[in-house]
Symmetry: none
Subunit: 236 residues, 2 copies
DNA sequence: CAGAGTAACTTGTATATACAACCAAATTCA
DNA sequence: TGAATTTGGTTGTATATACAAGTTACTCTG
């Protein structure tokens, strides 16, 4: 058996929810019911529910039952990672819609962000990442080609930043800035939302020991996306 | 017994780590050893270890053992911290405008979020934090008074969540969710922005080994606030 | 009718056990 | 010596069971 039983149960529950059979805030099958249905012990069913609670898919309360939490895509804030992996991990369909790939010259703010002289030639690309057909991230990235190693240059257009950076420099780091913005004309069009709708915009500056490799704007529709994570509290 | 046994074990482990007896990357007692030491079953000891792994305090690997995780590795975004300190650090003027402090009963979603029975009395407070006179954060927090230690109860209204939690339990953690929302009437009024303006809303669930201590909504006007930080890139 | 009590159901904690999967070091064998 | 095997310890999954604790709805009683 390749997949553990509690994973099987988790998948079953997710499918019911995604199919709309178990809507938001509705009560899901109880631990005993699931145990009977999957002919497993209650502890195994319980584990499936527990993990889904931790993932924010379900909510439980003693004596009452287990319920479907709000349905919004959520990703871990600790590791802002490849959105394709995340979507696949949720068991949803992933697709990309390339908008354009073209050279652009670094100007003003962009040149500063990347730490290059003005009019340096950058590789610009624009992609829309979709979850089950719905656009969920608009990615606009500027790459400094000089910092991309030669052996990756040929394939680099087809690689996600994660892919080529992880092959390139294991010690690559990124600085993220998160902002709430109102969708402008371009964003609204790409993400198929209304003009002015709130969006979560992440600016990612990726840098290795060589310098800033890329600058990317990742824009998510606020109505469809949130960012979650478990963090230690710090003082000062 | 007021405290469950697995919580007791968690606390024991945390104390050892905080006392420096179990340094970074050192192997901690195995499940069987802990079970013997606390005269409990292996599954109970295992649960304590599992939860500490999820919190990032420990790391496990099959066949090898359980180890103390890095205690640093938290960057500024990871430490969503006291906004007063941040503002002062920027050299700006900080002021607070208290809106209300009142008891409230936990209902439905809130009860689930805090993990308390329905109609539990919570301490609710609402504050507006200002930078140079401009409102920059609306804080709405619900605290479970039972989990606030006695010696902090008198002063707890005047303390920020950070202050009293850091005095209380060094290993307190929080789960954050970040969303882009449109300002409703109440928010717009408090933050002096237009209705529908995009806002960055952080939901913070703070929990210690005792349970969920507080739930807070921190709302920032998108036009005036951003969240930054440096994160390692993760793959898969 | 109002209220207390009870029954049925839920999740929460805990135990004891079994076997699988994995790792490292010791042992055995060629 | 060097490679394969065994052994003991570790975590991972799963079962069956028991009782505690919280919620709801029904029933009984005054």
């Amino acid at each position: 058996m390749p997949v553990p039983k509690f994973v099987e149960i988790k998948q079953y529950i997710c499918q019911r929810i995604e199919a709309g059979e178990w809507p938001e805030y509705s009560q899901v099958a109880s631990e005993n019911q699931l145990a009977q249905q999957f002919s497993c012990s209650r502890m195994t069913a319980r584990r499936a529910l527990t993990e889904l609670c931790e993932q924010g898919v379900l909510m439980r309360s003693q004596g009452l039952g287990t319920f479907v939490a709000e349905l919004k895509s959520q990703s871990s804030m600790l590791a802002i990672r490849n959105i394709a992996d995340e979507i696949k991990e949720r068991g949803h369909g992933y697709s990309v819609q390339p908008i354009c790939v073209e050279p652009r010259l670094a100007q003003a703010k962009l040149a500063v962000a990347l730490g290059v002289p003005n009019d340096t030639q950058l590789a610009y690309s624009e992609l829309v990442h979709c979850e089950d057909g719905y656009p969920i991230q608009l990615e606009q990235r500027f790459v400094n080609p000089e910092l991309v190693p030669d052996y990756l240059k040929q394939s680099f257009e087809s690689l996600t930043p994660h892919e080529y950076l992880s092959r390139h420099a294991p010690l690559t780091q990124a600085t993220h800035t998160i902002e709430a913005i109102a969708a402008d004309q371009a964003i609204a069009e790409r993400l198929q939302i209304a003009l002015g709708e709130p969006c979560l915009q992440i600016s990612r500056r990726t840098w290795s020991s060589q310098g800033v490799v890329s600058f990317a704007l990742l824009t998510h529709p606020g109505s469809r996306y949130r960012l979650g994570g478990q963090l230690p509290l710090h003082e000062s």
